[in-house]
């Protein structure tokens, strides 16, 4: 049986990624009226997964190549809607953040679905009734 559990790693990675993204989106919504606040988001899971699969230098100290100060991997979102930058320097568009939240929920449900189905397949393979 060529079932090397990468799919389980991937599913749990996707679930973690969606949780981390939801945390950023919640912070954006909470700060939707804070002057000078810039909305933040994570890169796509696909990009994060691809970069974690290829061989690269590991950054274990702040001075190393590839080390990013502060929260790793977050980036400021480009304000999607025209005019979402308000006069007080805040660029959170609530509608845009809601769209992201819906996408995150889909991501999370996909991850949990893949996880449970893979476990079902494993159980079937070892001959247990579900």
């Amino acid at each position: 049986m060529s079932f090397d559990l990468t799919i389980l790693q991937m599913a749990s990675g996707l679930a973690q990624h969606s949780g981390a993204r939801l945390s950023l989106v919640s912070q954006n919504i909470a700060n939707a009226d804070t002057p000078g606040y810039t909305a933040r988001d994570l890169p796509d899971f696909g990009a994060a997964w691809a970069s974690s699969q290829s061989v690269q230098l590991s950054a274990t100290r702040a001075g190393h190549f590839g080390a990013v100060a502060g929260q790793p991997g977050t980036r400021a979102t480009e304000s999607a809607a025209f005019g979402s930058m308000s006069p007080n320097g805040n660029n959170v568009a609530i509608e845009d953040q809601m769209m992201r939240a819906a996408a995150i929920r889909q991501e999370h449900e996909l991850a949990l679905g893949v996880w449970s189905k893979s476990l079902d397949m494993l159980r079937t393979a070892i001959g247990k009734r579900r």
Binding site: G19, S23, Q27, A30, D33, T34, A101, H108, E109, L119
Partner: protein
């Protein structure tokens, strides 16, 4: 899982901040006819963990409206007294914005709760 908890904490702090703002709107509207009242303003500030809190309350220093009523007990020699500088339209707009922000926070809180309970149901199988 800790991310989802952090997300709920951020949403809850957002709801608290918006309700603090709503309270000030209520106080301003209640005092719209109080002579000499200055409307209260609050600005939000973000805290370290991504949460938000209502900052210091400041008073709007706009000149209050002057009303002519010689029979008013607070009228000066010319018959004018200072009203409040509350603008009801502005307050209603502020209340609407606070409500919209509160609802968005509430929705995100609910989504984080649902996502964490969906993850926990996997344990129950």
């Amino acid at each position: 899982m800790t991310d989802l908890i952090a997300s709920m904490a951020a949403s809850a702090s957002g709801m608290a901040a918006q309700s603090a703002r709503m309270r000030l709107v209520g106080e301003n509207i209640a005092n719209a006819d109080t002579p000499g009242y200055h409307r209260k303003l609050v600005s939000f500030e973000s805290l370290a963990a991504g949460t938000v809190a209502a900052g210091r309350v400041t008073l709007d220093q706009t000149q209050p409206a002057r009303h002519f009523d010689p029979s008013h007990p607070m009228a000066d020699a010319a018959g004018y007294y200072d009203g409040s500088n509350v603008n009801l339209v502005l307050e209603i707009a502020d209340a609407r914005e606070a409500q919209r922000g509160y609802e968005a926070n509430l929705r995100l809180f609910d989504q984080a709760r649902q996502m964490s309970s969906a993850a926990l149901t996997l344990l129950r199988r």
